[in-house]
C-alpha cells in the first residue's frame, strides 16, 4: 500500500515566483461600488436586482458543493465573502504563494449577461473603476481586467478605449455564455478594439445566456454542470476559429480561462479533420484550425488535469505547447490550485518556472 505524502519543499531550497492569472476579488458589501455607479443604477439594483436568463435572481442555477464556490478557509474573520479582504488575500495567498503579479477577474453581477443592456454597461464601468481603486491602488501586485458587457458592443468598445491606455489593466474580460457564440460578427468590434488597444481577450468560465449547459438539455447535478464548462470552452474556441475571428484579427490573443486543458489536443485534431472535409463551407478559414489555436490561443491551468501518470501530463503539455499555458489559482474558489502541488508531474525547474511565471510574464508583457 502506498500512501501519498506531501512534503512542503523547504523554503530555502526553492523560492516560488508566480504570476497568478486568475484571482477573484469580491465586495464586502455592494455599497463599495456606489461611488462609481450612477444613482439611477443603484436604485435600479435595489429595486429590481439582477435580471438574467435563469431561475434565481440572486443565486446560481446549480448550487455549488461549497458555499460561495469558495475554499472554506478563505472567509475573512471580520466578515464578508471570500476574496473581499485584501489583508487575508495577502496573508493567505499573495505572500506565501510567491505571487508577484495577480490578475483580477471580477465575477459579481455577470454584467455581460444582464438583459438590461444599460445596466450591464453601467456595472462594467463601475466594477472596472472599483478594481483599480479598491485593489490595484492598494496592492501593486494586482492588475485589473477590463470587464465588458459584450452584448452592447458600442458600450464595450467605448469602455475598452477608455481603459486601453491605463497600465492598471492587462486584458479584456468576457464570460463565455454569451447570447451567441463569440465568433459571431456582432462581437467583432470588440476584437477590433482589443487589437487597437493591444489588450488580449480573456474568456473566463461563467455567464448565463438561457441556453442549456449541454446541446442535449439541462444538467441535473453540479457534477455535470461543473464538467460542462470544458465543453462550453470547446465551443468558444471552435467559434473563434470557424467564424473567422482569428483569421480576420491575426494580432488578437485569446486566453481560455478555467476551462480545462485535457480537451485541447482532441479538439484541435477534430477541427482539423473535419475542416479538411468541409472547408468549402468556410473558405475564410485558410489554414488548419489547430494552427490558429497554436498561434493565438492561450490556456490557464486551473483546475489542473490529474491524469494517472506524470508522463500523460507531460505529453498533454507537449501537445498543447508549453508556452501556451498560464498558471492560475482561482483564489479563493474551492477548486483552487496550489502552485507547489498543482502539477502532478516530474517537471524540471525550468519547466516549472516557465509555467508558473515566464509564460505569463511574456504574455502580459510585464517588463
Amino acid at each position: 500500500m502506498s500512501t501519498i505524502e506531501l512534503e512542503r519543499p523547504r523554503a530555502s531550497s526553492y523560492k516560488l515566483r508566480v504570476i497568478d492569472c486568475d484571482i477573484h476579488p469580491a465586495m464586502t458589501s455592494w455599497t463599495e461600488v456606489h461611488p462609481y455607479l450612477e444613482a439611477r443604477w443603484i436604485e435600479h439594483l435595489s429595486v429590481y436586482g439582477s435580471h438574467l436568463r435563469h431561475a434565481f435572481s440572486e443565486a446560481l442555477s446549480h448550487p455549488r458543493m461549497s458555499p460561495d464556490a469558495a475554499r472554506i478557509d478563505a472567509y475573512p474573520e471580520e466578515g464578508g465573502p471570500p476574496g473581499s479582504s485584501l489583508e487575508l488575500m495577502r496573508k493567505q495567498h499573495l505572500d506565501p504563494n510567491g505571487i508577484e503579479v495577480g490578475m483580477l477577474i471580477p465575477l459579481r453581477w455577470n454584467p455581460g449577461s444582464q438583459r438590461n443592456l444599460d445596466l450591464g454597461a453601467a456595472l462594467t464601468r463601475a466594477m472596472n473603476t472599483w478594481q483599480v481603486e479598491r485593489w490595484v491602488k492598494q496592492e501593486p501586485r494586482l492588475r485589473a481586467s477590463v470587464l465588458v458587457a459584450q452584448e452592447d458592443t458600442v458600450a464595450s468598445v467605448a469602455e475598452i478605449d477608455a481603459r486601453g491606455g491605463d497600465p492598471n489593466f492587462t486584458q479584456i474580460l468576457i464570460l463565455p455564455k454569451t447570447d451567441e457564440p463569440l465568433g459571431r460578427r456582432r462581437y467583432w468590434p470588440i476584437y477590433e478594439a482589443a487589437v487597437r488597444n493591444n489588450l488580449p481577450i480573456t474568456i473566463h468560465v461563467g455567464g448565463t445566456n438561457g441556453h442549456p449547459s449541454t446541446g442535449g438539455g439541462w444538467t441535473s447535478y453540479y457534477m455535470e454542470e461543473h464538467h460542462s464548462v470544458a465543453q462550453t470552452m470547446q465551443a468558444v474556441v471552435a467559434s473563434l476559429v470557424f467564424e473567422g475571428v482569428l483569421e480576420r484579427f491575426p494580432q488578437l490573443r485569446v486566453v481560455i480561462m478555467e476551462g480545462g486543458l485535457g480537451w485541447v489536443p482532441s479538439l484541435n485534431a477534430r477541427m482539423d479533420k473535419h475542416w479538411a472535409r468541409l472547408r468549402s463551407e468556410v473558405p475564410h478559414v485558410r489554414k488548419p484550425p489547430s494552427e490558429y489555436v497554436r498561434e493565438q490561443v492561450w490556456f490557464s491551468t486551473q483546475p489542473m488535469e490529474e491524469p494517472a501518470t506524470s508522463a500523460e501530463l507531460i505529453d498533454l503539455f507537449d501537445r498543447i505547447g508549453w508556452d501556451r499555458l498560464l498558471f492560475s489559482t482561482d483564489y479563493p474558489h474551492w477548486d483552487f490550485d496550489d502552485p507547489r502541488y498543482a502539477f502532478r508531474a516530474n517537471l524540471t525547474q525550468a519547466q516549472r518556472e516557465q509555467l508558473l511565471y515566464e509564460n505569463a510574464r511574456k504574455f502580459y508583457r510585464l517588463d
Partner: protein, 376 residues
C-alpha cells in the same frame, strides 16, 4: 486474413474480413417507402398533409455534405447515399467482408415533435429496415429507432422488436429533448438491459436546443465539431444520474463520437467526482471505471492525425483495450480508400477492435448467429 489478390487492390480491404462493422447507415430514400407500414390513420394523414413529400433528412447530416457521403460512395441520379442495399454491398459488405454490419438509420422519425407521429414513423422505419435490409442480407443487424422523448412509446417499440434478435441495439441521438441520464428515460434502459440490447448513442441532434451552451453557431462544421462535446455531456449525465448503478448490465455504445476526447473527459470527470461525489452518492466508482465497465466506442472517426497510435494511447489512458469497436460509418466520409484505420495497432488489439469487443458488447449477436436463412 484472406484475399490473395483475386480482385485487384483488395488486400487492404480484406484486412477487415470477419470484423463487425458497428456503424452502417441505411437511408430512408423517401417517406413513400414507409407508407405500407403505417396504419389507416397515419396513411391518410400522410396523404392529406402530404407528409410523404417531406424530406426528413436530419440537419445533423445534410444530405449532400461531403461528410454525409464519401464522394466515391455517391449514388447515381442524386439518390440518397446509403439508400441502396446493392451499393452498400458493393462498397462495404462484399469489399471488407464483415461478419456482421449493424444498421443505424438516421432519419427524422425519431425527432418529430408529436410523440404519436414519431412513434408511428419509427415503427414504420424499423419494419422497413427489417423487410428491405435484414431480410435481404444475412450479415445485417440493426438498431431499433425509437421516439426517445416518450419513454412509454419507446418501450412499446422496443417490445415489438424483442423477439427479433437481429435488432441488437436501441438507437438514440446524442442531443435530444433532455439529457440521457434523466429518470424519465429509465424505462428504456430497463427494457434494454432486460432484453440484452445495447443503447447506441449516435452523433446527431434533434435541435431542441442550440448545439452548444454558447448558442447557435453559423456553420455546419461547428455543429459537427460540437458533437463530441455532446457525447461528453451525455456520459456525464448517464454517470451522474446513476443509470449504471441502477442498470448494472447495461452497455452504452457511443457511435461516431470522435473518440479522442475521452482522455480529457476521464481526467476531469475523475477529479471532479472526488470533490463532489456526496451530491451523487450512488456514483461509487470513478467515472473512468464506470466507462470501462459500461461504455463502448465505435472507431470512426478517430479525431487524431495518427489514428492507430491515438487509439493505443487512449487505451493506455483508460486502461482497457475492450472499449473500441470497429466501424466504417458508411456512407459518411471518414476515411479514404480501404484504409478504415491507419496503422499503429498491434495484431491482438486489432482483433479485439475488429470483432471480439463487439461480440462482448452486443449479446444478441451470438443469438442471431443461429439465424440461417433470411426471409425475403
Amino acid at each position: 486474413m484472406e484475399g490473395n489478390g483475386l480482385v485487384a487492390g483488395l488486400d487492404q480491404a480484406r484486412t477487415y474480413a470477419g470484423a463487425i462493422d458497428c456503424d452502417l447507415h441505411p437511408a430512408v430514400p423517401g417517406m413513400g417507402v414507409l407508407l405500407p407500414y403505417l396504419n389507416d390513420y397515419w396513411r391518410e394523414m400522410a396523404s392529406v398533409r402530404a407528409l410523404d413529400r417531406l424530406n426528413l433528412s436530419l440537419t445533423s447530416y445534410p444530405q449532400n455534405s461531403p461528410l454525409s457521403c464519401r464522394p466515391d460512395w455517391l449514388l447515381p441520379d442524386g439518390a440518397k447515399a446509403g439508400s441502396s442495399l446493392e451499393a452498400m454491398k458493393d462498397h462495404v459488405l462484399d469489399r471488407f467482408r464483415p461478419r456482421y454490419g449493424i444498421l443505424n438509420c438516421l432519419y427524422g422519425a425519431q425527432v418529430l415533435h408529436s410523440e404519436d407521429m414519431a412513434a408511428a414513423f419509427c415503427r414504420a422505419t424499423n419494419d422497413w429496415i427489417r423487410d428491405h435490409w435484414l431480410n435481404h442480407d444475412l450479415r445485417l443487424r440493426a438498431s431499433i429507432v425509437i421516439p426517445s422523448h416518450s419513454a412509454e412509446l419507446a418501450v412499446a417499440e422496443i417490445d415489438r422488436r424483442a423477439e427479433d434478435v437481429r435488432f441488437v441495439q436501441v438507437l438514440m441521438l446524442a442531443s435530444g429533448e433532455t439529457t440521457l441520464g434523466r429518470r424519465h428515460l429509465w424505462p428504456v434502459y430497463e427494457r434494454a438491459e432486460r432484453l440484452g440490447l445495447a443503447i447506441g448513442i449516435h452523433a446527431g441532434s434533434a435541435y431542441r436546443y442550440a448545439p452548444t451552451a454558447v448558442g447557435w453557431p453559423s456553420y455546419y462544421v461547428e455543429d459537427y465539431v460540437a458533437q463530441s462535446a455532446a457525447f461528453e455531456s451525455q456520459l456525464q449525465s448517464l454517470i451522474s444520474e446513476g443509470v449504471f448503478a441502477k442498470f448494472p448490465r447495461l452497455k452504452v455504445v457511443a457511435i461516431e463520437s470522435g473518440l479522442t476526447w475521452l482522455s480529457g473527459f476521464i481526467w476531469r470527470a475523475d477529479k471532479t467526482w472526488k470533490g463532489v461525489r456526496a451530491e451523487v452518492p450512488w456514483v461509487t466508482r470513478t467515472p473512468s471505471e464506470i466507462i470501462r465497465n459500461h461504455v463502448r466506442f465505435t472507431v470512426q472517426p478517430v479525431d487524431a492525425a495518427d489514428e492507430g497510435e491515438a487509439i493505443m494511447r487512449l487505451a493506455d489512458h483508460i486502461k482497457s483495450d475492450e472499449l473500441f469497436l470497429f466501424s466504417t460509418d458508411y456512407p459518411h466520409w471518414q476515411f479514404d480508400g480501404d484504409a478504415v484505420l491507419s496503422g499503429g495497432l498491434s495484431d491482438a488489439f486489432f482483433r479485439k477492435i475488429a470483432s471480439e469487443n463487439a461480440l462482448a458488447t452486443y449479446s444478441r449477436l451470438a443469438r442471431a448467429g443461429r439465424i440461417v436463412e433470411a426471409v425475403p
